[in-house]
Symmetry: C2
Subunit: 258 residues, 2 copies
């Protein structure tokens, strides 16, 4: 039994077991054999075989020519209805495309889930700087531009608890000090944009701005990621703010009515 295996539990509900099969798949494990699924889900091979059969018949999983299982098209179609996933992306896409076209850099849209950002869109030209994110990827809030923008506009108790740490450092430049993070968040609220410099990798910089929903609350953040060496943050700020305001308006935000 390897480190990532769960011990088989005897008392688990039927939904719990089925969802454990789906949760066996992640970015590091997009294709699995029955034995892998059984081990990662903490289920017997017999139970796994039965559940994978039901999921495959329904279309939530697909089996390839090598006998490996993948997430299926039918699950993807239903998941496309998630308001904070593809549905948000559909509204935002024209504005993200405009931002991409104006800059030809990596453009992202992200939402907050607990203490992490989840990227729901990422436009990347073949010439843009290589970055270590992709759709569905997660990063801690304090280390990314979108994360800082989302954290700065979350509830005060949540912000305090988050700032108290622990704050993981990915590079020597990551904001891992609570007092510095609090100052940074105040600056994000003051300026309306978040600049994250060399925090995830030492060669990139991101500029992010908050996206407001119909009720005025911040529901997402849009950002651009560029090479640190040649970045001119001042040039990128207006473009990112414009994209964020466009998406906010498309979501029903009316600042002038407030």
């Amino acid at each position: 039994m390897t480190a990532d295996a769960l011990p088989p539990r005897t008392v688990r509900s039927a939904p719990d077991r089925l969802l454990a099969v789906l949760a066996a798949f992640d970015h590091a494990h997009p294709a699995l054999c029955l034995t892998d699924i059984s081990r990662r889900a903490g289920l017997t091979l017999t139970t796994t075989h039965r559940l994978v059969g039901a999921l495959t018949e329904w279309g939530a999983l697909e089996r390839d020519a090598d006998g490996l299982y993948h997430v299926g098209l039918r699950l993807w179609e239903i998941a496309a209805l998630a308001p904070r996933g593809l549905a948000l992306r559909q509204v935002a896409l024209p504005y993200l495309e405009d931002l991409y076209e104006a800059t030809h850099e990596n453009v992202q849209l992200a939402v907050r889930d607990g203490g992490e950002v989840v990227y729901v869109e990422w436009l990347s030209g073949r010439s843009a700087v290589g970055v270590h994110i992709r759709v569905g990827a997660r990063w801690p809030l304090h280390a990314t531009g979108v994360g800082l923008a989302l954290l700065a506009h979350s509830g005060q108790p949540f912000q305090e608890a988050y700032c108290a740490g622990p704050l993981t450092a990915f590079t020597p430049y990551t904001i891992a000090d609570p007092a510095r993070l609090r100052r940074e968040l105040a600056e994000v609220r003051r300026s309306g944009v978040a600049v994250s410099s060399r925090q995830i990798t030492e060669d990139t910089l991101s500029v992010a701005a908050p996206v407001h929903g119909r009720d005025g609350g911040v529901t997402a953040a849009v950002s651009i990621v560029v090479p640190h060496a040649t970045a001119q943050a001042a040039v990128l700020v207006p473009a990112v703010r414009l994209a964020a305001r466009g998406i906010s308006r498309a979501l029903g935000w009316r600042p002038e009515a407030r």
Copy 2:
């Protein structure tokens, strides 16, 4: 009981019941209350309450401020791993963006699922022609450019069965005659592109080209949709073919090695 309700069935497996809850959500019903879910899934309210609770706790569903349930971010994250969904889209996106930027028209990527196309990507500028498709949407193969491209390169027995009909007509221009569809498919194979004119709505035209996978088989199709009145198909053909070849190469297709 309305027309879309299923009668409660007593003998259903646990996976079947849970998947029925997920399948209650579709494009026409992205937000549902418990009673709606119960009715659409054909389950008792007690069972629905229990299953929705498990799915919500896990993150497959989310409950909004109005008490309605939506598809959740966690399900979307797992579904993003689908090789024929977002994973294919990630590889294709730079080429689709190039095509969008070169034309500023609606750009689509689709795969075949049985007798239908499923759109896995759709780039649409704010100025592009309005079309009745979106990510996750389905249309019959014979009525769309991508569908004709995919059908023309599917197995001969499948093509024959599909051409035998019935073939639904959406406009007076839809190819609903088996003999005409067979001729059209031969022309698609000969020319390497599919042109679908006024088949879904009378004011649009699409130009599509097949995308090849590593093994040489056609795994997807890329298309552009433009207003019929001003469309110059001859101008669009090279751009669509170029995008399709770019995506094919990115997927590992090596025509020169064949």
